[in-house]
């Protein structure tokens, strides 16, 4: 028994070291940007945050992330709901389809998009707004596995069929059922999916580079090539944002009555 506990703790400690040592090293490095005799310096953070390109790229990434979340929610929630309610036999098929982004590399996806949408009549890459639209669509596909799983877990935790029938017998239409019953009861699951999508979009590099959009991913890459301390500071900021998101999920999960927690990590 004692030996088992020892090995269990050893694995936990190794796991913690595996996750935290690189993070602490990055943090430590990001704090060395000042004069050599100053160990603790926030110069790298100051420079990173003051760079106008940072704000611009972050704003664009956040905008695209918000639109991606809206598109994904509108596609995934009704699909997952309908599969749960009426087509449970199709669940493996839908699961497989939503897993495709793991099978098809982002670079293949973006080449496909460029080939189809860069010449008339579908010349989306000619304009900035339409290229952003392409980016939103591509990111929506990338976020399917995460959003579908979050929604699916949320739907499994509530009795979808009976709640739907109860609402129907009280006179509710499909739209009312989705908006007043299903969406509110999936609040935590939707928030999890949304934050995971946010994290993916903000950190994505390949598709943004090939579609030549100056989002946060390409900006980070450029910083890494040209600077030493600022990329480390940006990484820490990015981690802090992700963890803040997770904190919000937990907080909302505890506040919402009758809700199920669906966690996830970047």
């Amino acid at each position: 028994m004692k030996s088992n506990t020892f090995w269990a703790w050893l694995i936990v400690v190794l796991g913690i070291l595996y996750f935290f040592v690189p993070l602490l090293a990055t943090l430590e490095f990001s704090l060395r940007a000042g004069r050599p005799d100053h160990f603790f310096s926030l110069v790298a953070y100051e420079k990173a945050l003051k760079d106008p390109a940072f704000l611009k790229s972050m704003t664009l990434s956040v905008e695209i992330a918000v639109f991606t979340i809206i598109v994904t929610l509108l596609i995934i929630v009704p699909t997952a709901y309908w599969v749960h309610l009426r087509l449970p036999r199709l669940r493996p098929v839908v699961e497989f389809v939503t897993l495709m982004p793991f099978v098809v590399p982002a670079v293949v996806l973006v080449f496909g998009l460029i080939r189809i949408y860069s010449r008339p009549p579908l010349a989306f890459t000619y304009y900035t707004w339409s290229t952003n639209l392409l980016l939103v669509c591509a990111y929506s596909v990338l976020s399917f596995p995460y959003m579908y799983r979050a929604v699916d877990t949320g739907l499994r935790a509530i009795d979808v069929r009976t709640l739907t029938e109860a609402a129907q017998s009280l006179g509710a239409s499909w739209a009312t059922i989705l908006l007043r019953i299903i969406f509110p009861n999936l609040r935590v699951a939707l928030l999890s999916g949304a934050f995971l999508t946010f994290a993916i979009v903000v950190g994505e590099f390949t598709i943004a580079v090939f579609l030549a959009r100056p989002t946060f991913g390409p900006y980070m890459s450029l910083q890494i090539q040209n600077k030493a301390y600022e990329p480390a500071a940006l990484s820490i900021i990015s981690f802090a944002l992700t963890w803040a998101s997770m904190g919000i999920i937990q907080w909302v999960g505890h506040r919402a009555p009758g809700q199920v927690q669906v966690g996830g990590a970047r």
Binding site: T162, A166, A167, Q168, S169, T176, G258
Partner: protein
């Protein structure tokens, strides 16, 4: 014309055998009718067809002379209570009860009044602001009942509403359901596999088996005058003895060489093997219960509180009889031989199944 009418209703799922076959029922306004039967007998499917969650493969459903067979559930004005309560977890008790009225775009003040009225009706006046997870199972089911009633439905449908509750709460709530139903005079269809529930609540009981309606009648008729052997054996406890007809005209039978007499002539010919059915409460230990007597050895004695159930082996087949409990009762001894007796009118004879 009846208030709720089901005419030749049939439901088939895919290539399976029909879930409901040739179902005909007429329910008068204010009636409390129970669908009783084992799992898979089609009772819930029939209820779901009335609610609109399933569409009949053929036949008609009419409510107050209007054909609602193909009408979607949200346009039927039918209240439904589910086994799993199905309260909306994101809403308070008050919002749950007022949901149907909100959908109907009733003014806020009218909704508030109705919610208060419903909370008083279910004896939970101070729970309006609670969330469902803060209530016990029994309280949640009361709220579900109030929610279904708040829309003033034409028919109230209850799908095994007490199955998930403790025995004591079940009895309490079933009395409560009957009280509310009588108070509002609402036409009610109640699905259950619990015969005690069906018997105690209903004006009429529909006994179902394998998708077919076996018998419709008052609880008294169903229990005392079953029309099929299924009804006889499903409702209440029943002893079945294989007997030989000795003299059909005078109703004389033979069981293991012991002669028995029925009150009415037997329709099977002399020499035929028939099943003699006897309710445990019609049998007496000793010779004073009637002119029919059988002897056997006591196998088990089960003390059930108000009654004592005794099982007697009659040379192969066990027979069960009930004795009313009293403080000075002398319990029979296991392993000892006893005579049991019953009158001719306690006997029902059916052709062997």
């Amino acid at each position: 014309m009846a208030f709720l009418e089901l005419e030749n209703v049939r439901k088939v799922f895919g290539a399976d055998a029909p879930a409901v076959e040739d179902f005909n029922l007429q329910v008068e306004r204010g009636d409390f009718v129970s669908f009783l039967g084992p799992s898979g007998c089609g009772k819930t499917t029939t209820l779901r067809m009335i609610a609109g969650f399933e569409t009949p493969s053929s036949g008609f459903i009419r409510l107050d002379k209007v054909d609602i067979t193909n009408r979607p559930p949200n346009q039927r004005n039918v209240g439904m209570v589910f086994q799993a309560y199905a309260l909306f977890p994101n809403m308070t008790v008050g919002d749950n009860i007022g949901f149907g009225l909100k959908i109907r775009k009733q003014p806020a003040e009218a909704i508030r009044k109705k919610v208060e009225e419903m909370l008083a009706l279910i004896h939970l006046p101070d729970k309006g602001q609670n969330y469902p997870y803060q209530l016990s199972g029994g309280q949640q089911q009361r709220v579900a009942l109030a929610r279904a009633l708040a829309i003033s439905p034409q028919v109230l449908l209850l799908d095994e509403p007490l199955s998930a509750l403790d025995a004591k709460i079940r009895v309490e709530l079933r009395l409560e359901i009957r009280r509310i139903q009588r108070q509002l005079g609402i036409t009610t269809i109640y699905v259950t596999h619990d015969q005690e529930e069906a018997m105690s609540l209903s004006d009429r009981v529909v006994v179902m088996s394998r998708g077919v309606m076996e018998q419709v009648g008052t609880p008294f008729e169903i229990y005392n005058y079953p029309k099929t052997s299924f009804v006889a054996s499903f409702v209440g406890t029943l002893n079945q003895l294989r007997c030989t007809v000795v003299d059909a005209k005078s109703g004389r039978l033979s069981y293991n060489g012991q002669h028995l007499t029925t009150a009415e002539p037997v329709s099977q010919p002399d020499g035929a093997t028939v099943t003699l059915m006897l309710r445990p409460e019609e049998l007496r230990l000793g010779s004073e219960g009637g002119e029919n007597r059988l002897t056997g050895t006591v196998e088990t004695v089960n003390f059930l509180g108000s009654i004592v159930r005794v099982s007697i082996n009659l040379g192969g087949a066990p027979i069960t009889l009930d004795i009313f409990n009293e403080r000075k009762l002398e319990l029979p001894w296991v392993g000892q031989a006893y005579t049991l007796s019953f009158p001719p009118h306690a006997c029902w004879v059916m052709a062997e199944q």
